[in-house]
Symmetry: C2
Subunit: 585 residues, 2 copies
């Protein structure tokens, strides 16, 4: 059975020794966010998550959600666990104190989210989407809407959804057809169907707030004609308590590859009462406020599953006796190929953790730093790294899940061990909140182009400033320097070629994102090696240095190769006719 | 819903235009195996497989096998389909006519196996393990054993199993504990438990022949003390008909990630009656006769799933309308990142098909060619390429399954579409018949070392003989030349370093196998481009050339990068203490 123990020592190492998260306590309003507070709250969250949430992961997967007559029953134990979780204040950790939140840094909330996703990723979607809904209303709602809905969403007493996708409108939201007709009382009549709605229906919370993308009459038929609406499951009555049942119903749930503990609903809005959020026809902007944070959230889901895969594979490799290695040891961790897999998993998970945490830290800096220049720099980092965190962490969750199965051998394929569940749960992460292909296009088409290419230049400068090619850390500093040089060249090529030959850039995007993420991880491993070299903890020092060497020698050299590959012209494959391709289909 | 249409044009192109499989008809006994016979039989098999076997793939996955009181019920329709399949003669296609087989080339049987595995990989395991059992008894059985069992196994009237694994003995068969005690009548009393036994119990055939690895009393406690036994479910009576029920029982079945249509049984032998096959203590050799062919079979399972993933993703990408591409087209095949995924899938599947078919062709040559020198060369090719076919095709089945889900977007994650099933079914292929890590070690530790390194040298010579760097095919011939040069250098490094530092080679093995397979695919794409350039079929020519260019520019350049990476020393990571690693677990 897969088990989960929160990697508290590693989390503290990254937060404090590598990233200096203590500086958050110097920001206005965050004076309580000291390293001690971080460690203490992380410890409390870890205990609750390990003891109450993790044990439901396998049973929820086996049981799944069940739909009957419009109601959804979540797996046994989930409702009690959710009640415990929100009442303990974990949903509202970083929410605004004006709305019942605890006003702690976003970074801290993401650390807790990583742990929650390791323990039970399907469970994490209930508070996760709730936070997304909170963020969207916080950014775009009216004063009254905020007062009515945010205290319920901030705490998690009510849960939230994001209703965007329709059968014909997935990646392309321009095709959204759901209609919103203005009513005499200022509300809107919402008609239409939505699919793939996470947490669309359940009875774990007393109300559900749907945040719905729909089209006003006479709006442009394009992406610019969409607006956002609050559609509560129960219309709040006087005093805000859930009142009349709204005409927003779950007509079926999906049977999925994984994430069985999370209900994925097909929703019908049949003249449901909705309330416009923000100005008409600003729906896409309103959604993207939330969407960017949602993408980081999905990256943390990926990180959580990377950690789960890694710690279980390592634990098994240290215990499982099979054959005799070259050094006569009998546990499989002594077999070179098993050790190679374990080190790959450690190098990726620990390196990705620094990337994800640092991006979260920049969200806090971008929102709270008193200096506008620092805020701008921080926002640049967040904008650049959001697609990296989303796509890389989630691609790796799937790959590391697969490697964990490989370490377990045939036993990993058996459901009882809980390892194959990681692979099944992880796959959705590469698809929702924008497929990883969409993330790569966001990186190349938008993030490289903003402000004359300022975003990647700031990243390259930060990496180069870490320096130290001539120190004992040259073993990683040198290949990192080469990687960043090649990445910069590829970046210029993309920035140049994009205008003339957008298809070349489109073809290159996925490889470019991978090369960028690996370079970022190289930067992280250099900093981790530095921090570990200064540590008294011998085992920490030894494992960090050995893993940094592994990354430097076996993973970082892929960057120059990928950069050369991505600069190939795409004209030939793009010219290939549908008919020629179809003849093989 | 995933659908399957046998790629008959592509199969014929590879067999005839690329590999010249017509030469098989020049071998003694194969005069009927003309290209026309191949095409005609492939067409007949395709029809049966598409119409009768493929439709059961999704329903068998959803329903699964059920165990009750020692009996296993396979999913609805499977028994009827199996009956139809074996009675139509497809199981015995390449089996010896003396035992009721049709005596056609092994290559042809593998083509049919590819199609069967695309259509329904779980179904394919029933005839697949039967053929393995047939091969083992053919190679090692006594005259009486052959006469009694082979006619039933050759045709598939009875099915077979391979009973090797025990809980403590997976990769390491030295740990096998099942006992075989000689009895007065010359038979043996078999006692012990086996796990992960594919097709261990069912009622689709009137009998099941278990091929069991067990230990005689006083045998060495090592791998050299194992022997093989036939343990029939029903002991054949006079005349060979199934008689008394033997004490070989299925005590439970596994609930697995995928392959739900195939039963995976835990078997108990409680004083079962068994019959020694081959000499005492030659069990491992006896098993490996079958195991090598079983590994190629698993490679074909991988190829089958690669094809299924590729054709479904392509079909969907040609139909699905979403957004507008740079060229204003609305189907997603016009989005560069989708096209990149499709071309990756085509490049891998079509390239791997040539590798798998060519290896099968060499099995026929090694067995049937009149010239001993040719037989030796062919056997070298088979020995070298068996781990490549097994590991590369199966790793790719999982990766291409994942890419197919990615092309389908969120819809790919929903079970109804049948695409995520490919990922779940594929994962076992990388684990059974020796994990892919074991394949890589087999390649490096055995195949590179045999006969003074003769095996890879013969491969390099064949690739170089294809030449043509200065022709219009230089676009692929040049990077192929570089790849083979780098691969040869890495090969020499492994051959040298292995004796002194086996851990370096162990660490390098997986990357080396990947580099080798990519080089082989480069060789295949050069030959396919050549053959296509000579073709009248314009769409074939265009797609083959564009795909060859894609492979040459975007996949083949990984070979030099991998070769550089794998030659890194492994001393540091191997020295890392368990305690240091455990502190992070």
């Amino acid at each position: 059975m897969a088990t989960y123990q929160a990697p508290q020592r590693e989390i503290a190492f990254v937060l404090h020794d590598v990233l200096g998260a203590g500086r958050l306590s110097e920001l206005p309003g965050f004076d309580e966010a000291t390293p001690e507070t971080f460690d203490s709250l992380i410890g409390q969250a870890a205990k609750l998550i390990e003891e109450k949430i993790a044990p439901l992961n396998a049973s929820a997967d086996a049981q799944g959600c069940r739909w009957q007559d419009g109601e959804v029953r979540v797996p046994d134990g989930m409702a009690q666990a959710y009640e415990l979780y929100w009442r303990s204040g974990w949903v509202g950790l970083a929410a605004d104190p004006d709305y019942g939140g605890q006003g702690l840094p976003y970074t801290l909330s993401k650390v807790v989210e990583e742990m929650l996703c390791s323990a039970n990723c399907a469970f994490a979607l209930y508070p996760g989407l709730t936070s997304s809904c909170y963020e969207a209303i916080l950014a775009c709602g009216s004063r009254e809407q905020k007062k009515l809905y945010l205290p319920k969403l901030a705490t998690g007493q009510w849960t939230g959804t994001m209703c965007m996708t329709e059968p014909q409108a997935g990646t392309d939201l321009a095709a959204v057809k759901t209609k919103a007709i203005p009513q005499a009382d200022g509300s809107y009549r919402i008609d239409g169907g939505k699919i793939f709605i996470t947490s669309g229906e359940h009875t774990m919370a007393e109300n559900i707030v749907h945040f719905v993308l729909a089209r006003l009459p006479d709006s442009p038929p394009s992406i610019k004609g969409l607006s956002t609406f609050i559609v509560p499951k129960f219309l709040p009555g006087a005093g805000g308590a859930p009142g009349q049942r709204n005409a927003a119903h779950c007509v079926s749930i999906e049977h999925k590859m994984g994430m069985h503990g999370s209900c994925t609903c097909t929703m019908r809005f049949d003249g449901a009462r909705g309330f416009l959020v923000g100005a008409p026809n600003t729906g896409i902007q309103n959604m993207f406020v939330m969407m960017n944070l949602a993408r980081i959230m999905v990256g943390f889901q990926g990180l959580g599953l990377c950690e789960l895969a890694t710690q279980n594979a390592l634990r098994y490799a240290l215990e499982r006796r099979q054959g005799k290695a070259f050094d006569d040891a009998q546990t499989i961790i002594h077999h070179p190929d098993v050790r190679r897999m374990i080190l790959t998993m450690k190098a990726v998970t620990e390196g990705a953790r620094v990337m994800a945490y640092e991006t979260a830290l920049h969200v806090d800096l971008a929102h709270h730093h008193p200096d506008a220049e620092v805020r701008e720099q921080a926002q640049d980092w967040v904008d650049l790294c959001t697609p990296l965190v989303k796509a890389y962490c989630t691609d790796m969750a799937f790959e590391l899940g697969s490697l964990a199965v490989q370490v377990y051998g045939g036993h990993g394929y058996i459901r009882d061990h809980g390892i194959e569940q990681i692979v099944r749960d992880a796959k959705i992460l590469a698809l929702y909140e924008g497929t990883n292909g969409v993330q790569a296009m966001d990186l190349v088409r938008r993030k490289l182009m903003l402000h004359n290419g300022r975003l990647p230049q700031r990243f390259f400068a930060a990496v180069r400033a870490e320096g130290c090619a001539e120190t004992p850390l040259g073993f990683i500093a040198r290949p990192l320097r080469q990687a960043v040089d090649e990445l910069e060249r590829a970046t210029h090529w993309l920035q140049e070629s994009y205008k003339a030959r957008p298809e070349d850039a489109g073809f290159a995007a996925a490889d470019y994102l991978r090369a960028f993420a690996l370079t970022y991880l190289g930067y992280n491993w250099l900093r981790m090696a530095k921090a570990a070299a200064a540590s008294d903890n011998v085992t920490l020092r030894d494992t960090k240095l050995a893993t940094a060497q592994f990354f430097a020698g076996r993973m970082l050299p892929l960057v120059p190769a990928l950069c050369a590959i991505l600069q190939q012209p795409a004209a030939e494959p793009m010219r290939l006719e549908d008919a020629a391709l179809a003849s093989a289909a």
